[in-house]
Symmetry: C2
């Protein structure tokens, strides 16, 4: 009753959602945090304040984003997208990505997201995972 998702199903799930769990490796141990993200079909875009996650990613750029839909223990789908960390430092691209990320969050209006950018967030690190592998699994019992 457990089956692999087709690539198009996994891509669709990543596009439909905006909340996932981000995994990286910090000093040899796994590190997992909830994140809001944006997936454009090739890369996952995220932002973060400096901290343990960013320190870990700069040392080991391999990371993953896990996104799921869980109704109960017999009905769920989970997708895992693997990629490598790339910091976005170009000011125009950074602004574009931040605006798109904030525009997807329900409590930011587009105006607020633009204002948030204009007023600063100088510490915020914007980055992508260039996705090279996506796996998806589903369990479904009638």
């Amino acid at each position: 009753m457990i089956s692999q998702l087709r690539p198009d199903e996994s891509h669709a799930l990543l596009r439909e959602h905006k909340l996932g769990r981000f995994g990286c490796v910090a000093e040899g141990a796994p590190y997992v945090v909830p994140v809001h993200y944006l997936f454009d079909g090739d890369s996952v875009y995220l932002h973060s304040l400096p901290g343990r996650k960013i320190t870990a990613l700069r040392a080991n750029p391999r990371a993953c984003l896990q996104v799921d839909e869980i109704k109960d223990e017999f009905h769920w789908r989970s997708v895992l997208a693997f990629g490598s960390y790339e910091e976005i430092t170009d000011p125009d691209e950074r602004e574009r990505v931040l605006c798109e990320l904030f525009a997807r969050l329900p409590h930011f209006t587009p105006v607020e997201s633009a204002m948030t950018h204009v007023t600063g967030l100088p510490e915020t690190i914007v980055f992508r995972l260039r996705i090279d592998t996506i796996t998806g699994v589903a369990e479904k019992w009638s």
Copy 2:
């Protein structure tokens, strides 16, 4: 507006929930999957079929369980419990843990969970993470 959770708050969150995301390191890369778990205050108990996760854990026993409550992007709590993988092979302990795990799942009755055990699941691997570190973070805007 982001604050650390007190240890008792982090423990309570781990006890209240039963669905989390499990992280381990597979061949140097992070690997994250949704799991149902049981936390007894010292260890997190899980079960799994053989596969990539178990292979990874036998090679690198460091793992984590991430559990969160997310209302929206401004109101959330997330706990991360780190520990080391230990397979439970003693038949009596394995039976006790499996029954307790299944009893917590809404679609198993205690009778079903006992039957599930009696009828087999011979492949299922039962394991604990002996938790040595718990961190918890909350964001709350009025």
